[in-house]
């Protein structure tokens, strides 16, 4: 049974209070525990959701055909489906989100929910309320796969994508988006490479520490004892270094990594929206031509079609402009937040490491 979507539904939770508190591995699948703060009074909603539930939510958001200009919305992007033992293809899709035992993935889902909840149009969808508050999982029945997403992947996509725009603002935005989509994807990939190498270094340090520990012997010979102490010190140094590199990799993932990943997915989402609008433009221009060339008997009908399409196109354009301005503003903010957080975390970790290294240095110097 399809859920009824009531217009003008009000979300009963605080937008910023939505948290994905836990990611639970259950055999092959992942379950996400979501906690939301009630708006009125105290109290929380605790719900358990799977990726299918998130998908359900997104499909509902896509299918709000009665909302004017819905196609002009830049839909908050949902990360790709995660698997407990991801295939190579899935790993590549998920990129950075597949690291850190699914914590970054949980953070990305949390971001998704917060973005939907703070969107002036989308937050009104009852599906969101049900998703966040209902103890029972929302209807698992597969709703019809809406064509709103991934339109640009379709075969005619390439042909329409280059279609010249009627407004400078949109043509410029499309060009900019094209450039940014490519750049952000590359940046996210290269950053992931950096993080993975840091993890490798951490593991190598751990190996070295373990190998050194094996050189430590409890012998009575004083010279052997001296060397054992030296080995033990060096083993401890590398154990610290291994932990330090792991922290560095975590910092990278949790702050800038998430930010770059989000940015890349939002560029894609904007691309989808702009493409939908371009398709509508193509449709409109076709309708205009048809209306012009129509024989008198068909003229009135064609004019109707033209008028409807025109209205739709204008509604989309109005919504799109708003969304674009909002995205520009939001993007700058989340980049700033990510960069500041990243920088601060790096400084904290580096200072801690300096302390550790100084302690080790003192210890080694004190060895006979």
């Amino acid at each position: 049974m399809m859920e009824e979507v009531k217009e003008g539904s009000v979300l009963s939770v605080q937008t910023n209070g939505i948290k994905v508190s836990e990611v639970v591995k259950d055999g092959d699948s992942l379950t996400f525990i979501i906690i939301s703060q009630k708006l009125s009074g105290t109290g929380e909603y605790h719900v358990a959701r799977t990726y299918d539930d998130f998908d359900w939510l997104q499909q509902h958001l896509f299918s709000q055909e009665e909302v004017p200009g819905i196609q002009g919305i830049i839909f908050p992007p949902l990360p790709a489906r995660a698997q407990v033992n991801p295939s190579a293809k899935v790993m590549k899709q998920l990129g950075l989100l597949a690291l850190g035992d699914w914590k970054p993935y949980g953070a990305a889902l949390e971001q998704f929910l917060q973005q939907v909840a703070s969107h002036s149009v989308l937050c009104k969808n009852k599906a969101l309320e049900d998703f966040l508050t209902s103890t029972e999982p929302p209807g698992r029945q597969k709703s019809k796969k809406n064509i709103l997403n991934r339109l640009s992947q379709a075969v005619e996509g390439l042909r329409k994508e280059g279609h010249k725009d009627v407004e400078d603002f949109f043509q410029n935005e499309r060009d900019l988006n094209q450039a940014l989509t490519n750049c952000t994807k590359v940046v996210a990939e290269k950053f992931l490479d950096v993080v993975q190498t840091e993890q490798k270094i951490s593991v190598a340090c751990g190996h070295f520490s373990a190998a050194l520990q094996m050189c430590v012997e409890s012998a009575e010979d004083p010279d052997k004892q001296d060397f054992s102490r030296v080995c033990k010190s060096l083993s401890e140094v590398f154990s610290s270094m291994g932990k330090h590199m792991l922290s560095v990799a975590e910092n990278d993932t949790d702050s800038l990594g998430l930010g770059l990943d989000l940015d890349s997915r939002y560029q894609d989402a904007e691309k989808e929206m702009l493409f939908r609008r371009t398709c509508k433009l193509v449709e409109l221009e076709a309708a205009q031509r048809n209306a012009e060339r129509a024989k008198p008997v068909k003229k009135a009908a064609m004019e109707e079609v033209k008028k409807t399409t025109e209205t739709e196109f204008n509604q989309i354009s109005v919504m799109a402009k708003q969304e674009i301005m909002e995205l520009k503003r939001a993007r700058v903010q989340w980049f700033q937040r990510a960069l500041v957080l990243w920088c601060e975390k790096q400084l904290v970790t580096a200072k801690k490491n300096t302390e550790q290294l100084n302690l080790h240095l003192e210890k080694v110097r004190a060895l006979a």
């Binding site: 290269k190 270094i201 070295f208 080694v364």
Partner: protein, 348 residues
Amino acid sequence: MFRSQTFSVRRRFSDFLGLYEKLSVKQCLQGCIIPPPPEKSVMGMTKVKVGMDDPSSVEFVERRRAALERYLQRIVSHPTLLQDPDVREFLEREELPRAVNTQALSGAGFLKMINKASDAVNKMTIKMNEADTWFEDKFQEVENEEQQLRKLSAVVDSLVNHRKELCMNTALFAKSMAMLGNSEDNTALSRALSQLAEVEDKMEALHQEQAANDFFVLGELLCDYIRLVGAVRGCFDQRMRAWQRWQDAQSSLQKKREAEAKLLWANKPDKLQQAKDDITEWESRVTQYERDFDRVGMMVRKEVLRFEKEKVKDFKSQIIRYLESMLQSQQRLIKFWEAFLPEAKAIA
């Protein structure tokens, strides 16, 4: 000891190998641990000869320079070797005759040579009856140590490779960041991203230094000691050879005594004097070789103890050097990010 306070000479790589050759031959029966020279490298030298200016050639030259320096330092810090006229000549003499017999140290390297010698010793049929287990125990320890060092060396190699990978990936990330910065239409964000790209370039340089630190300080230390431990094994072999010589002399003496007895019985007085002279000669040789064996044994003990003390000192000082370098790196990293932080805050 030397003619002047400070002096310099030019030497070829083969001269260093030649010095090792001379020292080994002379110190052969003494039981000294002779520091081994660095290995020859056809690959590395070819690149340098061809005049390639790439970073790996530069690294090779620096690696060799540092290794030769350590080699000489170990020689001159050995009290016996410092007295050796060949060592003085190496350090002082303007022109050295070209070293010739360095083929043994080519390609296959020093360790292969030591292993060959060890095998020969192992093939000696008469097994030694050790009154004192010290030598047996120590030898076993030395062999274990070599295994451990090899393992450590392999792990450090892997670490160095990962650090180099990090350099490369950081550089690629910096470049991609620069491109993103260029495409950005928001001026404040564009500027911050471009600056971030610059900071990441600096980070790449830092990672390079850390890779060099891992390699030159730890990696080379372990490689040196793998070879040094081989040299220690070599001096145990010297003791075995000295023992063998003594045993051989004892059996020769025995043969001479039997020959004398035969002559006495066969009643050939004219050859008897010769036989008696032989016996006297071999008796003194046996005494000499026994003394030699004891002396070598004492030297080996002394050398091994000295080696172990030096090893502790060496490792300790290298670790300190490593940590100091790491600390410097961290300080610079902190400066970079402290400089960037206000830029990041200024985005909005």
